[in-house]
């Protein structure tokens, strides 16, 4: 295989209700490239493989070190961050597609607002008395911190829901990321004060019952968050609440 050039096949779309189309770009190979550095090269010289000058490809990115979650796309059929997709490790031609579970904004940029709305539904925060000086929080043992930290690394990037067979554009499933955040806050010493409110959202339509246990989410999570463990744990907490509520009536 010649290493002189890199070939990209990019699924483009001019706007939300437009027809999508494939466009091919062949750019010079440079060592240590990743998908984003190549998209930047295309920006500097936006000419497609037919030699036609076109509009530069639109995509989203920010931190470029796989910690902000912005640049998720489908690369060679796999959902992942484009910053950490190193060219030397990818088969060519490299196909780039927008995430399929969200409305396309333009080209590779999609609208993931639904994921942030899901965080509101599960009340993913710690209720507080105020931001004035109230001294330190509770003591927390290192093992507990280790579990919380892992869950807290979720960057709302969308990989888990892109890979999920139950999450679709026409339902309202919360998705693994939000369920896992509910677990994170239910284990926090003050976060758990509104644990039942979170469980009620999880037991509502589009909640935890919508999970089909395909386990794709945990496979694709770039931060190796134990998402299936989180779903199982929240399932347990929800059933407990269900039976408790039932017998109170």
């Amino acid at each position: 295989m010649s290493k002189k050039t890199i070939t990209f096949k990019i699924l483009r779309q001019d706007g939300p209700n437009q027809q999508s189309y494939w466009e091919t770009f062949v750019i010079p190979y440079l060592p240590n490239s990743n998908v984003i550095s190549c998209l930047m090269d295309i920006q500097k010289n936006p000419i497609n493989s037919e030699g036609k000058k076109v509009r530069p490809v639109v995509w989203e990115c920010n931190c470029l070190e796989e910690v902000c979650g912005t640049c998720t796309m489908v690369i060679n059929g796999k959902t992942r961050q484009s910053c950490s997709a190193l060219i030397d490790k990818l088969m060519q031609p490299i196909t780039l597609q927008p995430l399929s579970k969200f409305p396309v904004v333009r080209d590779l940029a999609v609208d993931r607002s639904r994921m942030f709305e899901a965080l509101k539904r599960v009340k993913a925060w710690v209720p507080m008395d105020g931001y004035h000086d109230l001294g330190p929080g509770d003591k927390i043992l290192p093992d507990h911190q280790g579990v919380a930290y892992k869950l807290s690394e979720c960057m709302t990037c969308g990989c888990c829901v892109e890979a999920c067979p139950q999450y679709s554009r026409d339902n309202d499933f919360l998705g693994a990321a939000a369920i896992s955040q509910a677990r994170l806050f239910n284990m926090h010493p003050t976060g758990k004060l509104i644990a039942n409110e979170r469980l009620d959202s999880l037991m509502d339509d589009g909640g935890i019952a919508a999970c089909g246990n395909a386990q794709n989410c945990v496979e694709v999570c770039p931060k190796s968050i134990p998402l299936t463990e989180s779903i199982a744990e929240m399932g347990r907490q929800s059933s407990k609440r269900f039976w408790k509520t039932l017998f109170q009536i």
Partner: protein, 644 residues
């Protein structure tokens, strides 16, 4: 009076801290962000946040933190602000703890602290090696709570273009652009906060995120706000080279015992693990026995530059040195540094738990930024009720976080940036609410013509940008600008090259007029926005380069060898206060100190009289006029720095 509100621009730590503090007081906030706030650049901060909680019983205190901070900044920081920040730091860490930040813990369940640069104490609270991400998420969650309650309206995918000013020049709103529709509109706001971060993208590849163009603060400067200490750009000693970005390798790697070294023999081609201990030059440990690998960043970056460029000892002759953690167990490294080691491995293919990392210095942070004000109390703290706090020289326009300029002087200490972001955001809240309550009329009561006019001005500007049909690709022109800045306004600075750079930037300014707007479509088109950002980056480069050219001294990150005053190796910094005291009392004699010490102190004093000042840039219609303002150094007397 109609309803009043604050507009906060920027959803990083400073912007979110300001938003939640203002909302807590019942005041509405319109939060404007380029990206979903959870994706802001604050996520990139790795190592931790400083606060003298003294968990290790080392006798640490906020006063020592304060001293380390102003010494680290080579005494150019504004002392009442630095003091107030350091005294509030333990409270801020406790607040974050209560918010649910999963800070690492000691075996007893207390917050754990680690070492960082420029101090001898364990003062840095941390959450693995993704502390910035964890802090940002905690603040994001609090703001989401207020959003649900209806006190905060968050609009993402919008860019700040400029301030709306009334007839007296007071800021009464902001012009923003919807990055999807391209629509430009003027929002009314009784106060506007710029919490828009730093300008690393001016240098092209840096440790900064793509959005860190400094456009918003530069826009304020172009509208007449003063810009302070622009020339002070921090170069982080340890980053990982990349084509699109120079990825940060956190100072916490050294805080946890990471050792920096090069082979003693130039161009040694062996695998680093085959090089024996006695064949390795641990140059920071040798030269700085007290601080070792944890010297402040300006010192570390200069030493790496010296080893690689002047002594030719960089790895394989390149501008790279080893950062070695291989003496620690995998378990220890994963628990305390996991995030950054995974990133290193992902991007380089090398496991840093097994092989020493190859790192080099990269542009990281701007100590300078928009000039902001404050009100001090008699005992040297800050009056938190004062509307002057964090207000720019444009009334009603505020700045916070990396966008401001007074906290870090000539060089910021590691883990003080997360602190200053959250501190400024929280501290300014009460003053802003007071400012708004004191207004005679609300922005909502002002005639709409004022806002229509501002909107139209920007609409016209963008119409013109879209019509630009020259020969310059804006992304290529940016690459040239950043190459020039990177080559000439970095670690070692020289007047002849700086003068040439200033002239070169003027050429870029001319060439900008020849830009082609390579995409003129209306929907989600980032090109017109980038063309505008590029214009602002060119203007800000002038501030940085001219400020560097005019400042004829060596202070912190601003190193001009030509003006370096050589410190005698046996000199003690405490001699300087003695010298000034003797001098003031009339008791100074030629034999009061060793002759070379006396000579050194006289030169140091003379240089400080001239240069211990903030440089203040104001836009004159073409470029910056630069003047100098006094710094409040009344709490800790400035003295020569020493870390060996």
């Amino acid at each position: 009076m109609a309803k009043q509100r604050t507009i906060v621009v920027g959803g990083g730590l400073a912007g979110l801290a300001a938003t939640m503090k203002i909302a807590e007081q019942g005041m509405s906030v319109l939060l404007v962000s380029f990206l979903p706030v959870k994706r802001s650049h604050s996520v990139c901060a790795q190592g931790g946040i400083n606060g003298a909680v003294n968990i290790k019983g080392e006798g640490d205190s906020p006063e020592i933190h304060f001293y380390d901070t102003v010494k680290g900044g080579d005494f150019l920081g504004h002392q009442p602000l630095c003091k107030d920040m350091c005294y509030h730091a333990p409270f801020i860490i406790y607040l974050l703890d209560r918010m649910g930040v999963p800070f690492n813990r000691t075996s007893e369940g207390n917050l754990d602290f680690r070492r960082f640069g420029g101090t001898l104490h364990h003062r840095t609270a941390f959450s693995g090696a993704t502390t910035g991400q964890q802090l940002l998420y905690a603040l994001d969650e609090q703001v989401r709570r207020y959003e649900v309650e209806g006190l905060v309206e968050k609009i993402e995918w919008h860019e700040y273009l400029g301030a709306v000013q009334d007839a007296d020049g007071k800021c009464v709103g902001a012009v923003i652009q919807n990055l999807r529709t391209g629509d430009i509109r003027a929002e009314r706001g009784d106060a506007v906060v710029l919490a828009t971060g730093g300008p690393g993208v001016v240098y092209g590849r840096s440790t900064n995120s793509v959005v860190c163009t400094g456009t918003a603060t530069t826009s304020a400067y172009l509208q007449g706000a003063k810009y302070g200490n622009g020339e002070f750009i921090q170069i982080h000693p340890t980053a990982v080279p990349g084509r699109d970005k120079l990825r940060l390798m956190s100072e916490s790697a050294r805080g946890e015992g990471g050792r920096v070294w090069v082979p003693r023999k130039a161009n040694d081609q062996r695998n680093p693990k085959e090089i024996l201990a006695e064949e390795r030059l641990y140059f920071l440990e040798e030269k700085y026995p007290r601080f070792g690998n944890l010297v402040p960043r300006d010192v570390g970056a200069r030493e790496i530059y010296d080893i690689c460029v002047n002594q030719g000892l960089g790895i394989h002759g390149d501008m790279k040195v080893y950062l070695d953690l291989t003496h620690h167990s995998r378990e220890f490294l994963d628990r305390r540094l996991g995030g950054i080691l995974e990133i290193y491995e992902k991007f380089t293919g090398v496991d840093p738990r097994e092989e020493p990392m190859e790192i080099f210095p990269a542009v990281h942070y701007s100590m300078g930024g928009i000039w902001t004000d404050y009100t001090r109390t008699a005992d040297g703290f800050i009056d938190h009720q004062s509307p002057r706090n964090q207000m720019t020289s444009m009334e009603g326009l505020y700045a916070a976080g990396e966008a401001d300029y007074q906290y870090h002087g000539a060089n910021r200490l590691g883990a003080n940036s997360l602190l200053s972001c959250i501190y400024t955001g929280l501290m300014m809240g009460p003053g802003i609410v007071n400012y708004i309550k004191n207004q005679k009329e609300s922005a909502d009561d002002l005639p709409s013509s004022l806002f229509d006019q501002a909107q139209q001005q920007w609409q016209e500007k963008f119409n013109n940008i879209k019509k630009m049909n020259g020969t310059e690709n804006p992304y290529k022109l940016h690459a040239e600008l950043s190459e020039t800045m990177m080559s000439n306004v970095l670690i070692v600075r020289d007047n002849a090259r700086l003068a040439a750079t200033v002239a070169k930037i003027d050429e870029y300014d001319e060439r900008w007029k020849e830009v082609e707007c390579v995409d003129t479509s209306d929907w989600t088109n980032p090109v017109p926005s980038f063309v505008n950002q590029l214009y602002n980056m060119i203007q800000l480069s002038k501030v940085i380069a001219k400020g560097a050219l005019l400042r004829d001294e060596f202070r912190g990150a601003h190193y001009k060898p030509e003006f370096e005053i050589n410190q005698p190796s046996d000199f003690k910094p405490e001699s300087f206060p003695e010298y000034t005291k003797l001098k003031a009392e009339g008791g100074l004699k030629e034999n009061s100190f060793k002759p070379d010490h006396l000579k050194y102190m006289r030169l140091y004093e003379e240089s400080n009289e001239k240069w211990l000042k903030s440089s203040i840039a104001t836009f004159n219609g073409k470029g910056p006029d630069i003047n100098y303002e006094a710094v409040d150094t009344s709490l800790i007397q400035p003295r020569p720095r020493k870390y060996d």
